[in-house]
């Protein structure tokens, strides 16, 4: 008798159950229900954390399962954010412009409206013209399509070139770092068409929901992020189970052997690289409306390295490990750097965590790599072993 996918992967059901309980509890304790134990800004932090967990499982699939240490997946996350940010900014500015021009005796022409929107958005970089990449910014559906298509196509072209030339290991990692660095540097330019280092802002204001409070919007995005994480988790768990999982793990452990079995390794890598890039884009599109702002600094090379650190600390090669790593380290990071952790006065020196957090993170990364290669997720193995 063939067992169903979920029956063979009980950890997926466990994960979904825990995530569902968490989502319901946070929603009930939020300001929306009047309980207010969890502030709106903390709901946003939790919602953003769920998006980071989603991009972390994508990273785990590409690195932990397929063995491709991509240090550029945060670029796809950022592209997703920019893609949705363009529509958010355009639609909201359009609303404001139309409102302000409404009082005039002669109704404004569409060219005037367009000019005014252009001035509003691009005035900060000394321009008023809409660059060509904003061609679809007035259309939510098309811009949502861009969230998926742009990271997907970039990953497809980049991956095709890299994998076809059999670039592997540290060389591939360096190439992906170069990709995200080049993209960040390009976006930093004022004439890149995406407002240079100002980035896109005001993304927390959702057009059409001007009269809805941020408390409600934050909960909606929180729940949407939870649903996306659940869907992404099931999707990736399905991919890395069964025969596909065997081949992908085989590529990680011995690429040449898989090739001699008759599998076209490059196609598999390209599939994994592109699928994870698309999910990273979706995660970014959910993250930045909660963050409210995106700028090129978000996709600096260090961001993608953090992603790898989360996955390593959480435990490579198990999806829940990536979720634990991303949630644990990113929340801890905002606690330490946000002034939550009390400074330690040693008498001769005061340890300020805003400065020392990175040192602590670096040390724990080294410690995990050396002493606990299975990461935090490895603790679950001990639990399971005790039971049986």
């Amino acid at each position: 008798m063939r067992k169903s996918f979920l029956a063979e992967n009980p950890s997926v059901l466990w994960f979904i159950a825990v995530l569902a309980v968490f989502t319901v509890v946070v929603t009930l304790l939020s300001e929306v229900t009047g309980v207010g134990l969890i502030s709106t800004s903390f709901v946003k932090t939790l919602g953003k954390t769920l998006c980071l967990c989603l991009v972390a499982i994508a990273m785990d699939v590409v690195w932990g399962y397929c063995g491709i240490l991509s240090l550029g997946h945060f670029a796809f996350f950022g592209i997703g954010g920019y893609a949705i940010g363009m529509w958010l900014m355009y639609a909201r500015t359009e609303g404001i412009v139309i409102e302000s021009l409404a009082g005039q005796p002669i109704p404004p022409t569409s060219a005037e409206v367009s000019d005014a929107i252009g001035n509003q958005i691009f005035g900060v970089v000394g321009s008023s013209e809409f660059p060509w990449i904003w061609a679809f910014a007035d259309n939510l559906f098309l811009q949502l399509l861009m969230v998926v298509l742009v990271p997907g196509l970039l990953a497809l072209v980049f991956g095709w070139l890299a994998f076809r030339s059999r670039v592997t290991g540290v060389y591939l990692s360096i190439l992906t770092q170069a990709m995200t660095l080049a993209l960040a540097l390009y976006l930093f330019q004022n004439d890149s068409g995406l407002r240079g280092n100002n980035g896109l802002s005001g993304l927390q204001n959702i057009p059409g929901f001007e009269n809805t409070s941020q408390a409600v919007i934050s909960v909606i995005f929180f729940i949407a992020s939870a649903l996306a994480l659940a869907a992404g988790y099931i999707f990736f768990a399905w991919i890395v189970s069964g025969k596909m999982g065997s081949v992908v793990k085989g590529i990680r452990d011995n690429e040449a052997r898989v090739r001699f079995l008759g599998y076209h390794v490059e196609s598999y890598k390209l599939f994994i690289f592109t699928a994870t890039a698309v999910v990273a884009g979706i995660a970014g599109a959910l993250y930045y409306p909660q963050a409210g702002i995106i700028n090129p600094g978000e996709i600096a090379p260090i961001a993608s390295i953090y992603l790898a650190v989360w996955v390593a600390i959480g435990g490579r090669g198990r999806l829940y490990g990536a979720v634990i790593g991303a949630a644990f380290v990113s929340l801890l990071s905002s606690w330490f750097t946000g002034g939550g952790a009390p400074d330690i006065n040693l008498g001769f020196y005061v340890v300020q965590w805003t400065d020392w957090w990175l040192v602590l993170l670096g040390l724990s990364f080294v410690a995990v790599t050396l002493f606990f290669p299975k990461g935090i997720g490895g603790l679950f193995d001990l639990l399971v072993r005790k039971q049986s």
Binding site: R2, I239, G242, K243, M244, S246, V247, K249, G250, D253, N254, A256, R257, V258, R259, F260, L261, G262, Y263, H264, V265, S267, Y268, F271
Partner: protein
């Protein structure tokens, strides 16, 4: 009789060193062949050429009934054409179970989409079990391959080759590190496999070659030095000089 694989006039040079020098060698559709020769004779390079890992500078490699050239094909295409290879060092996927290893090797569609949509079926499970039985690992199907003994890993890799259902099996030192009983069993598996396909065994161990009881090709400096029965080639004076003599010296 038309040949399964015809290698003719192949030359490979690595940094001026001629690893393969105008090599010509043919294999029939169903035969067992042993290739012997001193270190550096070009045995592994020969396998690399046939499996597409190394591209020769000159010569042709013609394959199968359709007489297609293998030289323009990638490793995975050649494998799908029906050439399977076992490496010198046992290379199985240690993190996965014996069953998963065999399932991956089993002759089924190899495209990513087909693999993603792959469903376990009863006939496939039976094929896996049949192969596992043949290599004596039927009781170990759920074990992780990394836990197997060295000899069992060698068998698993041979089993993966069998599961691929290749028309040509290239087997590099299958008996390395095996106990005498294990060797005997390996001989049986290879002889059985050679009834329906071509099996080419590269081996150093003369005792093992003798047990295979098949046609032997001696390689030396990238070319065929002698060919025939083991007794025939071992009585050849040149072979004694360059290979056997060296081993005894």
């Amino acid at each position: 009789m038309s040949m399964l694989l015809e290698v003719s006039g192949v030359t490979v040079t690595f940094d001026g060193f001629r690893a393969i020098n105008n090599l010509s060698i043919n294999f029939a559709k169903s035969e067992l062949r042993a290739i012997i020769g001193p270190n550096g004779a070009g045995k592994t390079t020969f396998m690399d050429i046939v499996t597409g890992k190394t591209k020769p500078d000159e010569g042709t490699v013609i394959w199968g009934d359709r007489n297609v050239s293998l030289l323009g094909m990638s490793e995975s295409q050649i494998a799908r054409e029906g050439i399977g290879r076992k490496f010198q060092k046992p290379t199985v996927f240690e993190a996965q179970t014996v069953r998963q290893n065999l399932a991956m090797a089993l002759k089924t569609p190899r495209g990513p989409f087909a693999v993603l949509m792959h469903k376990k079926t009863k006939p496939n499970a039976e094929r896996i079990e049949a192969v596992a039985d043949q290599i004596g690992l039927l009781d170990s199907l759920t074990r992780v391959a990394g836990e197997l003994s060295h000899g069992q890993k060698q068998w698993l890799e041979i089993g993966m080759l069998l599961a691929q259902e290749p028309r040509l099996m290239l087997v590099d030192e299958p008996a390395a590190g095996m106990t005498p009983e294990e060797r005997e069993k390996t001989t049986d598996i290879l002889k059985e496999a050679a009834k329906t396909r071509a099996v080419v065994v590269v081996e150093h161990d003369m005792e093992f070659v003798r047990r295979l009881d098949c046609k032997v090709t001696v390689l030396h400096e990238g070319a065929v030095l002698a060919e025939g029965s083991l007794d025939h080639v071992t009585s050849n004076q040149t072979v004694i000089d360059v290979y056997l003599g060296r081993a005894h010296a």
